[in-house]
């Protein structure tokens, strides 16, 4: 911690945000021509690229085929240049395997897999620049890519991390805050119905505070979902304009 003041007396954070403020989200859909769906998303300084292939025939191990729904295959990776120190990240290390699994669970809750028996949907996400909240940025980018691919979903999935400092929940932590020893929680939400797709916390927190933290995360997720909604609608208008001509 070393005396890093995460929340000033005036209620401002290290990067000048208020406690409940989410970083600026910018996104674009359909960045690749060859993939079925793709999206690029920036949340503050964290940048992610998501690509979706499918639904298609099972490739690789046939034994994983499910006869009543599609299999979702997620792969999370980080670019070598994504963090402050350059580091080769071998494929399939423990951290990224865990992240891939979380992404898979999140999207199995949202995508209507039962419509595509015996097929496979691939979601590949790459972090290009990492500044905290990698999981949530990946989920947000992948949501846009899945929508771009025309795969049916119950609703958007939006994710956000929330930390707990000085009795106050801080929305959307950046790297400096994440590494400052804050107990944080990641939440993926289907915003319209308020269903939680994934809730992850691996820090200690008094249970009295949990409710407030989840509440703050849900509000932040709904904020993100508004931005994503705007991006999708804008994209729809643009593409349908082109095809109408």
């Amino acid at each position: 911690m070393a005396g890093l003041e995460l929340l000033s007396d005036q209620g401002y954070r290290l990067d000048g945000r208020k406690a409940t403020e989410v970083r600026k989200v910018q996104a674009r859909m359909g960045v690749f021509a060859q993939a079925d769906g793709s999206a690029y998303l920036e949340q503050g300084n964290t940048k992610a690229l998501a690509v979706v292939y499918g639904p298609h025939e099972m490739r690789g191990s046939r034994s994983r085929t499910l006869h009543d729904r599609a299999v979702i295959n997620c792969q999370y990776s980080m670019a070598t240049f994504s963090t402050a120190e350059r580091k080769r990240r071998p494929h399939g290390d423990r951290k990224s395997t865990e992240m891939s699994l979380h992404l898979k669970q999140t999207f199995e809750a949202a995508v209507m897999t039962q419509l595509y028996p015996r097929s496979q949907i691939d979601i590949y996400v790459k972090i290009l620049q990492s500044d905290g909240g990698n999981y949530s940025v990946c989920v947000n980018a992948a949501t846009l890519a899945v929508i771009d691919a025309g795969i049916p979903m119950r609703d958007y999935v939006c994710a956000c991390t929330v930390g707990f400092v000085d009795e106050t929940p801080l929305a959307d932590l950046c790297y400096a805050e994440e590494s400052g020893g804050v107990s944080s929680l990641a939440l993926a939400l289907l915003p319209r119905g308020g269903q939680i797709a994934l809730l992850q916390m691996d820090a200690r927190l008094h249970q009295d505070h949990l409710e407030a933290l989840i509440e703050a995360a849900m509000i932040a997720c709904k904020g993100v979902s508004k931005v994503l909604d705007e991006v999708v609608r804008q994209h729809l208008q643009e593409v349908s304009m082109l095809t109408a001509e």
Partner: protein
């Protein structure tokens, strides 16, 4: 070799006019809470409300409501012409990748084997299947039926279908292909085009003796001369240009685009500004022809 390099430029914002379309929905949007409607593709019922599950335009046919996404994989219908690649040889069948959500099936009994219509298929044929079509081969075929799980069954029981020889495959979005009476065209510029409904487009030099080698499993390995190759490369780049600007593909649009591109070198067609110019010219010609 001189390479053409350029710096990144700012993407021009597409001017979305004041006229906003109201029939566009995103996943989670409630289309109607009236229970009198039927649920079609791209929708689901949540707490008695008909909700969209994909982003796209709403289509209503009487009481049936569907949402058609702007971009999807190929949803085959009986009679569609497809171009596909053989991925697997199994017993009595080939598996063909056709940009569909499951690999399509081509049964040994639904191909024309050399030796005429009425030939019996023996166990020997089953063993020599790989001689006709092996993994990686490209074929053109027609959709014969659709299975319950959405997989397609193909047939090549006509002389125009069969294995594809020398040519170029262009993979585009299925929604860009215009449905027409015929998807096989011999363009006057000296090349043939197969516009597969699944978004796979095949370009090849027009064969000289059309009756002789059509529909068979014989593929010519004669070198294709330079002028033919140039025509095909130009057509390929034209297809990519049209696809980038989301222009529907059919024989006339491809031909007009080809004509508009003649003043440029083949490799220049892919430059964004040239692309835009060519597509504008094409659209103008198409409008003139219509009006």
């Amino acid at each position: 070799m001189a390479a053409d390099m350029r710096l990144p430029t700012i993407r021009k914002p597409v001017s979305v006019s004041t006229f906003e379309r109201k029939d566009l929905v995103v996943p989670g949007d409630v289309i109607t809470s009236d229970t009198g409607y039927m649920r079609g593709h791209g929708t689901y019922v949540d707490e008695e409300k008909l909700t969209a599950s994909v982003a796209g335009e709403v289509q209503r046919v009487d009481k049936l409501i569907c949402v058609r996404p702007l971009k999807t994989r190929f949803n085959g219908e009986v009679g569609d012409v497809v171009v596909g690649r053989v991925t697997e040889v199994q017993q009595k069948r080939w598996k063909v990748e056709t940009n569909s959500r499951l690999d399509s099936v081509l049964l040994l009994s639904s191909v024309n084997l050399p030796g005429g219509e009425l030939r019996r298929r023996s166990a020997e044929d089953e063993l020599t299947m790989r001689e006709y079509l092996q993994e990686g081969d490209l074929i053109s075929a027609e959709v014969q039926s659709v299975f319950a799980d959405g997989a397609l069954s193909l047939h090549t029981r006509s002389l125009k279908y069969g294995k594809l020889g020398q040519g170029v495959l262009v993979q585009l979005s299925p929604s860009l292909i215009k449905r027409q009476k015929t998807h096989f065209h011999n363009l006057p510029c000296g090349a043939s085009i197969i516009l597969g409904n699944n978004g796979f487009v095949w370009l090849n030099p027009t064969p000289e003796n059309q009756e002789e080698d059509a529909g068979g499993f014989y593929t010519s390995l004669e070198p294709v001369n330079l002028s033919d190759r140039e025509v095909i490369s130009r057509l390929r780049n034209c297809l990519l240009a049209l696809a980038a600007h989301k222009v529907l593909l059919y024989d006339t649009s491809v031909l007009y685009c080809y004509e508009s591109s003649l003043q440029h070198q083949v490799k220049d067609i892919l430059k964004p500004e040239v692309m835009e110019e060519i597509v504008m010219l094409t659209q103008q010609k198409l409008l003139e022809q219509e009006g």
